[in-house]
Symmetry: C3
Subunit: 357 residues, 3 copies
């Protein structure tokens, strides 16, 4: 099935502003070189140059605006350009249009699933093979629970959640609406808390919960530990990638993104809209200001009182860290220059001493 | 249900040493500000100041001793203080008292579980839905195996173990008594060993085991690989956090703690009572002295012959690493100072040359 | 069951070149000190010294060649040495000989498994308890799928694959022949891609696949994410360790090894035969030249245009990084030396000023 480019433009609030109204069969990357290059639609980020479109074999693009210069437009002759406020967003919306997520419309509990008698389904829910839903589970309508997933006693899932296959959610956790959790992720395991008793470690029972707010997505094989006394909280709209670890009592703000393999120790608080690269580590009991950003592989040992772009271990202003990365490579040279200075000074003083004689 | 503070004090070998004998309904954090502040009990670490109690809204505390100064005591008027040798330990014990872990008293094998004919249960055991226990498994009394867990051929679990939902334990492993393993953890997968055959990698079969001693707890989504020829061993009482990776042939001592996302390459040995922060990496084939501590995010490339507090990559004495963290930020300044020195010296020499003329 | 050393030598294309033709019951480590030391066979890497054999209690060894010096040979009197081109490879082959991997010869679908009607088995396949194989799955002969594993819609597995217990493979993925995947690993979860819509994150649907070529092995609890539009690809013969994360659209070459806890951000390309240590991180959208090697705990931020041995964060030539590791520890000393230079120069200039008076 194909669609006119003008139709797709209308679907995302844009317009066909340049070139022919092609038939579009799907979406593709700007690097596409096969048959899809002529039949599929790609996009250009506003900060990129139109020269990238020229170099691409793809014929149709979502763009933020037409090239300002006539020459640039001429160079794109034959291409089709749809202008839209946010090309990446429009691209995401069209991907969802071409590849619609199946909605859960009919109640569908796989006969192999073990569902406790008092589980409450607030609407149609899909439960896959070999799922276990323990006593007291409550589950909003439109939610699907993938095969082999485990939902512990008293846990509540909101509406339209997507729990993929092989997820494990411990007892007494709470998920909002439209929460997506990918396979292999564990929510609600005990945090890492022990009291030292003359060299032996005695477990501190963890009686807090995990609370995950609406529109959160968590990648595969991640771990969100339950709180010791209070709750571990993931704020509305935040997105966590694979293998992320959130320790007990952490509070993640709203619309935060945390890339793969990042983790934080207990009781740390991350402000709203922070952007955290891959493999970033945070010490426990620190607070990070809203709107902070951290480069991949940073180690954050202290609270971050003001937003900024931080990197390195320990994390400092990215610009300073970058200078350090350059300077540290000059250390062998500095060493020599210090030595030479010392020798020259030595000579000067010797000469002077002789002169004084 | 509530208890007199004096009753709870007796339960942990302490005594109500100050203030009224309140009715206590549970435990809470020192930061609690809600209704629980008056009905619940908190604790103060011995190294913390009594000023923190003053600032807290919580009325009842476990403390190591009463304030030495009369003035400090007066400032706490109205609070209730229970003295006990180790307040954190007492707190853990009271949490376990208020939130008792259900014991496995009756044999309870879920009808969906697949249990090989020759599996031996040495006492009452709980096996959840969709568990698989392969041939030759032996399991001590009081152990519970959570839903969806897999126990491979010939593996032995001790008594009173808690294998949470969705754990995978390969064949021929051995777990002691009171071992807890959290969800998503894999015990006994093959280690990463290959022989290079003219650019191709040929697998080295792994025929060692994983041996986990008594009272070990392992967090969620961790990996403990089996040994190639000899065993991978986790010593008695050690505690490993989520996403920790222990490679083939490692030997972890007793009462070691390893925080989240840490990992070690093959054949490394960690001495007793080491304390390892989050995201610490160890090279393979190294030995770490007992009682060593490592700050979060350290990278340990060499054997550590003597205990100490180490940090950074490569890990060195923490005090030196901290000085380096400060000094490296001054590198741009040092650069300038070296340059200025060179210029000044140049001038001096030029002047001298002129003077000599 | 035991074998003559000469028989085992023949099995790996080597020959008994020194010492008695012992009866061998199995393989052991060079550090073995128990009964196995006399009955088992070990090996010596070509780069190691024969002194290690002298110090070992093991009696029989695979070696690349006999000691060149008569004296060295005399010192090994009583030992048995089998010469073979690649002792480590021969050792791996003999381990496989002593511990043969059970082959799947008869079709064996566990009665609890949920297998969609249209699943195609191209030969005898073993499917463990509680597996789910969704519609459209196709599976080559000789493949075994461990208990509790999930294979999503339309995914194809090649012949002689070993999917261990508790693996999760999403829809529409493609695995070649002889692929091994360890427990807890997730293949094909959505990549981490969102379009920012005025501070909110809108999911970019992921419609690419994961393609894993022949002879790949992936460790436990790893994550290989599906591509956004194009595929994520793992090349032939590559080996990935536990907890490795491969993000969307990455292309891993052939015969690459990636040790535990390493990860790479999206769209990164790793050339053939690269060797990547533990916990190495790669930024997204970079290209790494074939035959590059990276020390454990490196952070690779930029493309690597030429092979070499790299380490540190940011990753640079290992030799330079090692010098920096030494130099940075001298920073407190350099600081003092710069200060002293400044003071001495100050004095010189003052003296000179006085002299000029």
């Amino acid at each position: 099935m194909t669609y006119k480019l003008s139709q797709l433009a209308a679907h995302v609030g844009g317009q066909l502003a340049f070139g022919p109204d092609r038939e579009i069969a799907g979406l593709c990357s700007i690097t596409e070189t096969g048959d899809q290059a002529s039949s599929h639609l790609s996009y250009l980020l506003p900060q990129r140059s139109f020269a990238e479109i020229q170099k691409s074999q793809v014929q149709s693009f979502l763009v933020a605006q037409l090239p300002a210069e006539l020459e640039e437009r001429d160079a794109l002759a034959g291409r089709s350009l749809v202008t839209v406020a946010n090309p990446e967003l429009a691209f995401a919306q069209l991907l969802a249009f071409f590849h619609p997520q199946p909605r859960v419309e009919a109640h569908d509990i796989h006969p192999t699933a073990v569902v406790a008698e008092d589980v409450v389904f607030e609407g149609p829910v899909r439960v896959g093979p070999f799922c276990t839903l323990e006593a007291g589970v409550r589950c909003g309508g439109g939610t699907s629970i993938g095969a082999h997933s485990y939902i512990g006693k008293g846990t509540r899932l909101g509406a339209d959640c997507r729990i993929m296959a092989s997820c494990t959610i411990y007892h007494d956790c709470e998920l909002g609406d439209r929460v997506t959790i990918h396979s292999g992720t564990t929510v609600g395991a005990d945090g890492f808390g022990y009291a030292n008793d003359k060299g032996r470690w005695t477990k501190i029972p963890h009686v807090g919960r995990v609370v995950i707010h609406d529109d959160v997505e968590i990648g595969a094989n991640a771990c969100i530990d339950r709180g010791a006394l209070q709750d571990t909280v993931i704020g509305k709209g935040s997105k966590l990638d694979d293998l992320v670890m959130i320790a007990h009592n952490c509070k993640i703000g709203e619309h935060v993104v945390i890339a793969g393999c990042s983790g934080m120790a207990g009781s740390t608080e991350i402000g709203d809209r922070c952007q955290i690269g891959g493999r970033v580590g945070f010490s426990g009991h620190i607070k990070v200001a809203a709107d902070s950003a951290f480069a991949a592989m940073s180690g954050v040992f202290r609270s971050v009182p003001a937003p900024g772009f931080y990197s390195g271990t320990p994390a400092i202003q990215h610009s300073l860290r970058n200078r350090i990365y350059i300077e540290e490579q000059r250390l062998p040279e500095y060493r020599k220059r210090i030595q030479q200075l010392e020798e020259r000074l030595e000579h000067l003083q010797e000469d002077k001493a002789k002169g004084d004689d």
